[in-house]
């Protein structure tokens, strides 16, 4: 993914499929990522309601709060598209603005996650407390790291665009980072639904 700027230049004109190698590589990488999140989500779902001690999901979740931060993250997919559109229109000032906007929304989401993790920790839920803590923090933590990597890529794109190093076609690297960004957003939809929205069965004996 870090390769978006250079190798694309060379591989684009003559490829066997006519598609950019960088784009194909990004798709294959995302396909591989599906199995990574698949494994993490499987572990969460398998262990739902299996914790032997509290706190349980219903004790700590604040659905309203997380809904807002989820909305912020999903909104960033829109700004990502807008920045790609601006790049296609060769309006680079607007492209930078939307890239920065996307990064800011991403940062808001990650900041919200840090706050949420801290709150949970103070309410007695850590990664070692019980199965819920282990699976929850691992799954959402991996997602948070992915968002953070995405933010870094967005910021690098902005820096590169100022250096004039985005090759002849800035829309292309923006599109590549966009693919990754949308993927991370879509994964969050799955996580938010499975982890937060669908209520976890209570273990026997818990009121």
């Amino acid at each position: 993914m870090a390769d978006v700027t250079h190798d694309a230049v060379h591989t684009e004109h003559v490829t066997s499929t006519g598609l950019s190698s960088t784009k194909l590589a990004m798709w294959l990488f995302l396909a591989s990522e599906c199995l990574l999140f698949g494994g993490l989500i499987t572990a969460y779902v398998l262990y739902r309601g299996q914790s032997t001690t509290g706190p349980y999901p219903q004790d700590v979740f604040d659905i309203g709060y997380t809904s807002v931060s989820s909305f912020v993250l999903l909104a960033s997919s829109l700004t990502m598209v807008l920045s790609h559109n601006a790049a296609l229109a060769r309006d680079y000032a607007r492209m930078r603005l939307w890239l920065l906007g996307t990064a800011m929304l991403g940062l808001t989401f990650v900041g919200g996650q840090v706050f949420e993790f801290t709150t949970f920790y103070h309410e007695g839920l850590s990664i070692k407390t019980n199965l819920f803590g282990s699976t929850f923090f691992t799954l959402t933590g991996f997602h948070g790291v992915h968002v953070t990597v995405g933010i870094l890529m967005l910021l690098i794109l902005v820096v590169l665009s100022f250096r004039g190093a985005l090759s002849d076609d800035p829309a292309f690297p923006v599109e590549m980072v966009g693919l990754y960004w949308h993927f991370v957003d879509i994964v969050w939809i799955v996580i938010f639904t499975l982890v937060y929205l669908i209520p976890s069965p209570k273990p026997p004996g818990v009121p």
Binding site: A2, D3, V4, T5, H6, D7, V9, H10, T11, T15, S16, T17, L19, S21, L24, A25, L28, F29, A31, S32, E33, C34, L35, L36, G38, G39, L40, A43, L46, Y47, Q50, S51, T52, T53, I127, K128, N130, L131, G133, S134, T135, T138, F142, L152, I156, L160, R163, A165, S167
Partner: protein, 620 residues
Amino acid sequence: MASVTVSTQKGILRRPMATTGFWSWFTTVDHKKIGILYGVSSFAFFLIGGGEALLIRSQLAKPGNTLLNADQYNQIFTMHALTMIFLFVMPMSAAFFNYLIPLMIGARDVAFPRLNALSFWVFLLGALFLNSSWFLGGAPDGGWFAYAPNSVVDPGNGMTFYAIGLLITGIASTVGAINLAITVINMRAPGMSMFRMPVFVWMGLVVQFLLAFSLPIITVALFQLLFDRRWGTAFFDPTRGGEPILWQHMFWLFGHPEVYILILPAFGIISEILPVFARKPLFGYQFVVFSGIAIGFIGFGVWAHHMYAAGLGPVANTAFGISTAIIAIPTGVKIFNWMGTLYGGDLHFASPMLFAIGAVAMFVIGGLSGVTHSIVPSDYQQTDTYYIVAHLHYVLFGGAVFGIFGGMYYWWPKVFGRMLNEAWGKVQFWILLIGFNLAFAPMHILGLGGMIRREYTYPASLGLTVWNQVSSVGAFTIALSVLLFIINVVRTQAKKRALETDDPWDARTLEWTTPCPPPAYNFAEVPTVHSLDEFWHRKYAEDETGRLVRVPAGASGEAHPTADGHGIHLPSPSFWPLVISLGFPLLGYGVLYSWWLIGAGAVVIVVGLIGFVLEPSVAE
């Protein structure tokens, strides 16, 4: 010489330019040099893993032996497996794929040359990290599949090294897999359609997809194991509701595709060697290709046959027994195709051919013993005994390692411009074949006689002594054969270039149209491909009676390029892949020892990635 574009940028982001000399190996992005780096380092690990095997066989050479204690034995057999699988066969396959795939499809390099360098350096540093555990309190000792909760409660740092070491080499393999898969899909020369690709390239493509889709699964499991060990999570802790069986599922969901990751490259090598030395096209090319693809798919649906004894119940065991029996079909198709290729051929028993036939024959034995434990009740008798050890060595040593040796003899002149000595090669083959069967055939008998896998010693009263001694003699015979190979290599490399022709085997595929060794740019002119076995058809046509006649040199436009490749743009070397990869062991030691090191590792990786992105492109 190819011109290497001089970058105008100054300072730290300036790209290194040297393409020769000692230091150029650290910055090279040439797929051929990276292939050689992979080959040399994985062969070094082969010798280390082999040394560990000799220690195991020395310990088992007599009952009640005290050469090693139980703890040392556990570490040595675990590291023997990890080294042979992750640090030898996988990277050695990567060596062949890296070197040969671009040459076979008529490309000048892989799709992402710098990522290629990155995947090599991350692999090497991950491998060194894993082996550094020997000096830091003890190596992993929980077996290569590290069953939980044993691997969680295991004291010492060994299993933590296991988790982190495999995570790092897994990252290397994922990067390499994406790169090579895209190379095959997108970098083919004009006319090189998917069904004109050599079978070796096809097997390479299947392996890269297997890697890309199975490694993330073990990545998750390794993180869970690591978190359980290091940060007290409850994933595999039964006292807190965790289920150790989850580890087994995750491990084998990766572990079984891994088996095909190990063997398919050898299948590809065999499929290249047999037609050349039988002087016939591969029999049923499409069948070989599609059965390889089928193996790739079905390989994801058989994992629980490793877990019959875990108590999944009769329904699951039956289902996985059936799918396991089914996967024998495409494998059998390949065997028959290879036999069909040999049938009626004009057979030349040069060393590559001997190794290829040896690989097929030994793999058949291992495959058949594999079918015996696809049957659940039979497996109950065999699981965790030496019968399994015999089976896995027949497929992995008999199949993969024989194939790899065949590939080395076959492509050595291509890579180094010198022929390995044929007489030595044949002697090496026969000693290896005898030693291999002496070492592993008795394990069938030992296993059925009740010898448990992984026990560090046995009492004389069990009557296992004789066959164990035969096996140990076999192990040292294998070592002798490997020693002969090394002497052969040293003798060959000490000679001046002694190759009269660039096509010593009268081969069939594109890589032999280039000089030996190929120039940095591979092809002075990108070839146009008209058929499967392109090079063969450039050399031979059929007369009216159907007999082969040689096409006069130059008549088919194959004329050895007189162009000197001037003006071909090649990617400049880069040191950022090495910088990035240095961050991974730092992260690893950080997890073990200090948050400061984690921070340092993360900084190195991020700085390296930024440098990687910002360094000037060669096009400037």
